[in-house]
């Protein structure tokens, strides 16, 4: 039984006839545990804040005294650049452009990967046949392909979406395939015996069984999609955070570059939070680690 805030209404009936000594012991143990957990949460968050604040402070102090701010800028300068970009240079427009390219590539790449993974594994021997070919394609550094995609799809957002999708595709594809192939044959056999048709087996057995793999892949590729979008913007673009950062470095404006990088980080953090929020209800059926189920009826 997990210890939560004691539910007084439910507990009271049962506790009415348990001896008072035991009651007070239970209350003591529960409140001690609660206190311990709160202290732990506080310590963890305190630690995080301290690390960030300490780094910023050290950066601010060292910059100009020990290291040349021309190369590393400083938090106060980055903040000023951030405000300047925000009000004078349409930072939000650039951020939105990159976010769109990232999201577009993320969805386009992962949906294609998932659909292809199901197709390739549903045809007998097709996966075995194509596997080395796919591995060879996967071996090509995708950055090397990016200029070609700019040539094919222009310098607009389409090329960025396609490049981001390319960055995303293989990770999702490979994970989905291993999820599908990892579905227990016994589960599939039993489902069929119970009357499941091919469509039921696919949607009600294979898909849920592969879901943890797919979600893991989706989580991994959020930053990957952004790398793709940024690579595209670095090569050729007229908008986007990649364009902004690359222009800033070109102009030796380190603080503006850092401000752009900071915004990139915020976008990824926000996307991860959204994925986590979508993922939780989908994986509620999985045991949390360390929680073993007890034997006995």
């Amino acid at each position: 039984m997990s210890i939560r805030e004691p539910d007084v209404r439910n507990e009271r009936a049962r506790e009415a006839d348990s001896p008072p000594r035991l009651q007070s012991l239970k209350a003591q143990v529960a409140s001690r545990e609660l206190r311990r957990r709160r202290a732990e949460t506080r310590a963890i968050w305190g630690g995080r804040v301290a690390i960030v604040a300490g780094t910023l402070l050290l950066w601010e102090l060292l910059s100009g005294r020990v290291i040349d701010p021309f190369f590393v800028s400083s938090p106060s300068r980055v903040y000023a650049a951030f405000l300047q970009l925000l009000f004078e240079q349409e930072l939000l427009v650039h951020a939105w452009y990159t976010t769109l390219a990232t999201l577009g590539g993320f969805f386009f790449g992962s949906i294609t990967a998932i659909v292809l993974a199901f197709l390739v594994t549903s045809v007998n021997r097709l996966y075995e046949t194509t596997e080395p070919l796919l591995a060879a394609l996967y071996g090509i550094p995708r950055t090397a392909l990016a200029p070609l995609f700019i040539m094919w799809f222009g310098i607009g957002i389409t090329s960025k979406i396609v490049i981001a999708a390319l960055f995303v595709f293989f990770v999702v594809f490979i994970n989905t395939v291993s999820g599908i192939r990892g579905t227990g044959p016994q589960l599939i056999n039993l489902a069929r015996l119970m009357g499941a048709r091919d469509r039921d087996v696919l949607l009600k057995v294979v898909l849920p069984s592969a879901m943890p793999y797919i979600l893991t892949a989706l989580r991994i590729v959020v930053p990957t999609a952004m790398i793709g979008a940024i690579v595209g913007e670095f090569i050729s673009a007229q908008r986007g955070l990649g364009f902004l950062i690359s222009r800033a470095t070109f102009e030796f404006s380190t603080h503006a570059a850092f401000a752009g990088i900071f915004v990139l980080m915020l976008v990824v953090v926000a996307m991860n939070a959204v994925i986590g929020w979508i993922e939780r209800p989908l994986l509620r059926w999985r045991p949390r680690s360390n929680v073993g189920s007890s034997e006995g009826g």
Binding site: G184, Q186, L187, N189, L190, A191, R192, L193, M194, G195, A196, R197, D200, K204, V205, P208, S209, M211, R284, W285, R286, P287, V291, S293, S294, E295, G296, G297
Partner: protein
């Protein structure tokens, strides 16, 4: 109702080496309608292979498997299978697991609910409808797996060491529940086990198999009247004699395996 005639089943266990493993050698058996038959025998003697042949997961290399006179050539959907391992769908709650067969057969939600409520109540799983398998104990998972199989009312129940992984007390309780359900419905059951007491307590007949290649060595009719009491089966006057007879056949096979 189930007939195996001169069934041979050979396997190629390794993918590269071509050494053929003979799982079943000339096995013939009959299970009558409504009969409870147990298969006992050393590990790897082909007991599960027999169940897989009847379910239609496997085809015999030679010989015939028939059900009600019809040869089993594809998946035999008149059978229900309870395995030794946990094969509940981990992403489905207890209720959704038990509903599965009815759901894929297109039974309406309301009708499904009724069947599931009744079945879960029958094995004392009320209050656990919305739990996921990992939140249940081993015994509860087994009960859920059994009623999941009963939900679509298969004509034959194939049970492959269903209680093998349970502790002794839980095992007894589940044997008792299974017997009560069986006595009510009189479904045909083919039950694989290593536990001789279990085989005798539950069955009408016990078939003893040889070590691999599997053959049927002996058939022992269990003439203990029903309804039976699994908790006190030892004190039944017929029990020691039956146990001796089964053990006599089996011990020879085990001794031969050791030599």
């Amino acid at each position: 109702m189930i007939e195996l005639d001169n069934v041979f089943r050979l396997f190629l266990p390794k993918r590269r080496a071509v050494d053929v493993f003979v799982a079943l050698e000339d096995v013939s058996l009959r299970v009558a309608e409504g009969e409870f038959v147990s298969l006992v025998g050393p590990s790897g003697c082909g007991k599960s292979t027999i169940l897989n042949l009847i379910a239609g997961f496997l085809q015999p290399t030679e010989g015939t498997v028939r059900m009600r006179g019809q040869p089993v050539v594809t998946l035999n959907r008149a059978t229900g299978y309870v395995t030794q391992d946990d094969t509940l769908f981990p992403w489905r709650t207890t209720r959704a697991n038990v509903e599965f067969a009815l759901e894929v057969r297109g039974v309406a939600t309301a009708a499904r609910r009724d069947v599931v409520e009744r079945l879960l109540a029958q094995v004392g799983l009320q209050g656990f409808e919305n739990h996921y398998p990992h939140e249940l104990s081993g015994g509860m998972r087994k009960r859920a797996a059994i009623v999941r199989t009963l939900a679509y009312e298969p004509e034959i129940l194939l049970m492959d060491e269903p209680f093998g992984a349970l502790d002794a007390q839980t095992k007894l309780l589940l044997q008792d529940q299974l017997l009560r359900i069986w006595e009510e419905q009189r479904r045909t059951v083919l039950f694989v086990t290593h536990d001789l007491v279990e085989a005798i307590a539950l069955s009408d007949r016990v078939l003893v198999m040889s070590r691999a290649p599997g053959r049927i060595l002996a058939e022992i009719a269990v003439d203990i009247p029903r309804p039976r009491d699994v908790f006190h089966i030892h004190s039944n006057p017929a029990f020691p004699g039956l146990y001796e007879r089964v053990w006599e056949h089996l011990s020879k096979e085990l001794g031969a395996a050791r030599a």
